[in-house]
């Protein structure tokens, strides 16, 4: 098994006719993901290398029955695209778009909660979800990951590749890699994804990759202590980040004394979660727990 995307995924892409959108959609299809359509207002009836394009999510739903949406439209259109897909009944919306205003994210999050509780949002500003050997939705380079029993959940794309690749080189694979994104109001938090991994038969261990800003890692620590029987290994980026400076991601900012990497690592360790000081160390701890080569204490 795996979480969120697999052989049953029926993907439809908002922004499929754009340069980035078409490139990554076709990449996902080559990987084996079942891409059933795309949505671009005004371009209904066209196709992108055989993938039908619809004018609206309602049309896409009645013609192609997608269960997963990928959002690739520019920031100013992204909030409405997410809500339109949810309104059409899509269960899983994965928003890749970076640069969406925080207030739009707040509106989307609360509107989904109130009006579309059946829809789960992953992202925005995320690399997507890969279930190796099954489906890839987003921009995660699949070649770095093997199929296996490690679940990965991360706020950062490249850091995920770094850690996943080190795990693969040690001979282990992943059940699913879920990028929840680096924005201040993500649709899904660490806790939401940890819950899925805990329930997934194929996931034996979870690697959580966090960073400065907000309190999602602290909340994850509480959740792990109370609800998870599977081991979790963590990595936190940004120990040396100065306060008040946004470090690339909109959500990666230490505000006053809150949101520091040290506080996050401490919160996790206080609940018995082992935290690697470098990505390499985090991967090594994961490998050790899985019964691979041991690392020094």
């Amino acid at each position: 098994m795996s979480v969120l995307v697999d052989e049953g995924t029926r993907l439809c892409v908002a922004g499929i006719t754009g340069r980035e959108g078409s490139f990554h959609t076709l990449n996902n299809r080559r990987y084996g993901t079942n891409v059933v359509g795309g949505v671009t207002p005004g371009k209904g009836g066209q196709d992108v290398e055989g993938i039908p394009v619809f004018d609206s999510w309602a049309d896409a739903m009645s013609e192609a029955q997608p269960n997963t949406a990928m959002i690739f439209v520019p920031p100013r259109f992204a909030a409405d695209a997410i809500l339109e897909a949810a309104g059409a009944g899509v269960e899983l919306v994965i928003a890749i778009t970076e640069g969406i205003p925080a207030h739009d994210e707040l509106r989307v999050y609360n509107t989904l909660e109130r009006d579309h509780p059946g829809t789960r949002l992953i992202g925005p500003n995320c690399p997507g979800i890969l279930s190796p050997g099954k489906a890839n939705v987003g921009i995660i380079p699949a070649s770095f990951f093997e199929q296996g029993n490690v679940g990965v959940v991360s706020r950062s794309g490249t850091l995920t590749y770094q850690i996943g690749n080190e795990i693969a080189r040690a001979g282990f694979g992943c059940s699913s890699i879920v990028g929840i994104g680096g924005d201040p109001v993500p649709g899904s938090s660490f806790v939401d994804v940890l819950e899925l991994f805990q329930a997934d038969d194929d996931t034996e261990l979870v690697v959580l990759s966090g960073e400065i800003g907000g309190s999602a890692e602290e909340e994850a620590a509480e959740y792990i202590a109370e609800n998870m029987s599977k081991p979790v290994v963590a990595y936190i980026a940004g120990f040396t980040a100065p306060a008040g400076k946004q470090m690339g991601h909109a959500g990666a900012i230490v505000s006053g004394s809150s949101g520091t990497a040290a506080a996050k690592a401490q919160a996790l360790e206080a609940k018995g979660v082992r935290v690697g000081r470098t990505p390499t160390e985090a991967a090594a701890i994961a490998v050790e727990v899985l019964g691979g080569a041991s690392v020094g204490a």
Partner: protein, 387 residues
């Protein structure tokens, strides 16, 4: 994007929050003209993006022209924790009966707007929250409904505002919420929110942060922020569309992806080095971006060595290598580089670099090894064979 006090107050006024009339000026002469306009006594306030202005002597009351002249002359050009005062705000001094606190912010954890109010204003609110948390009212607002006057009045009453100003405080809270919402702010704070002897409720200070991602729908706000005190390299990076933060060390850092770059800073610090910057060249960086990035890093004269740490996903290592080769052709760096290329097309990237035989460029296999090498090089120690 953080605003100066007077810029925040201008936004406040735009949404009906009461502020004292005032003027932002950059010279002593203009300060005196402004003081005449708003009427003595006036307050001369340093406009810098740093707390503790009052303690540093950057906020002074002037009863007459000679005092105003003296204070403006002292404050203009003053250094407050590394920020040079280039602008002062002159406003008519307010009589104060009470000092309250009010703010609206985005609560990332609750995923709702959070309104905070306290009658213990004019002091560090984090201290109030710590010592007497019961005196800081925290009220979550339904983001889809907004803040009603009735809710605002309840917050004022819960916080213990004087009965005769509950209405005025509610008006202020609703207006502050409107500032936060309409201007796409992530924080809108008033400390102190004062009550005058005439029982008027007024914002005596402002702290506003705007969401940079939303500036496209606020063209009138794009020119705000403290341009004069912005780091020149950070300003240049912004203009070139690079994610760059200037730091205090001597090791230049170039990587792709915010998380990986933050991690690179940590690993370099762990190896005993001090990063000179954060620079995320982005997910799909091409040769041109890499060249621009190298140029920016080397524009910082403190840099003694540079670490290029790439784990390529969408990025391709051969593109990064070509960018480095092009950059070296034009810039001819005088400091050593350590390059770690991993991921998409890494073999090709390393081959290109090795064939180009760039002077003083060292290749590393892992992130940890790269960090150790660059720290040694910055300290003037030799490392293994060049790439």
């Amino acid at each position: 994007m953080d605003l100066l006090e007077y810029q925040g107050k201008q936004l406040f006024a735009r949404h009906g929050l009461k502020v004292s009339s005032g003027k932002a000026v950059t010279s002593v002469e203009d300060a005196l003209v402004a003081a005449d306009e708003v009427g003595y006594p006036v307050v001369v306030k340093a406009q810098v993006l740093i707390g503790g202005r009052g303690k540093a002597g950057g906020v002074k009351l002037a009863a007459n022209e000679s005092e105003a002249r003296e204070h403006a002359a002292n404050i203009l050009g003053m250094d407050i924790k590394g920020h040079t005062v280039r602008t002062v705000w002159i406003e008519h001094a307010s009589d104060i009966a009470s000092e309250y606190y009010a703010s609206v912010l985005l609560d990332r954890s609750a995923k709702q707007p959070l309104v905070m109010f306290s009658v213990e204003g004019g002091v560090d609110i984090e201290e109030v929250a710590e010592r007497t948390p019961e005196k800081l009212i925290r009220h979550h607002v339904d983001a889809l409904k907004g803040l009603s006057h009735e809710e605002g009045a309840q917050i004022a009453r819960d916080g213990g505002a004087d009965a005769d100003v509950v209405d005025g405080v509610a008006d202020a809270l609703v207006a502050l919420y409107e500032v936060w919402l309409a201007e796409d702010a992530t924080l809108a704070e008033i400390n102190p929110l004062i009550v005058t002897p005439e029982r008027e409720v007024k914002a005596l200070d402002s702290k506003v942060s705007l969401d940079g991602n939303a500036l496209y729908r606020h063209p009138e706000n794009q020119s705000l922020s403290d341009k004069e005190n912005e780091d020149p390299l950070e300003r240049r990076a912004k203009e070139e569309g690079l994610q760059f933060v200037k730091l205090d060390g001597d090791i230049g850092i170039l990587g792709n992806g915010a998380g990986l770059v933050m991690s690179t800073l940590d690993v370099v610090a762990g190896a005993g080095g001090e990063p000179a910057n954060f620079l995320d060249a982005g997910g799909g960086s091409n040769a041109e971006t890499i060249k621009q990035a190298v140029d920016l890093i080397l524009a910082n004269e403190a840099v003694k060595a540079v670490l290029v740490n790439i784990f390529a996903g969408i990025t391709r290592c051969d593109e990064v290598a070509l960018g480095l080769i092009a950059a070296f052709g034009e810039i001819k760096p005088s400091v050593p580089f350590v390059v770690r290329l991993d991921g998409t097309n890494d073999v090709e990237g390393r081959r290109l670099l090795s064939e180009a035989a760039l002077p003083n460029v060292h290749s590393a296999k892992t992130m940890n090894e790269a960090a150790e090498m660059v720290v040694a090089l910055a300290a003037g120690q030799p490392v293994g064979a060049p790439a």
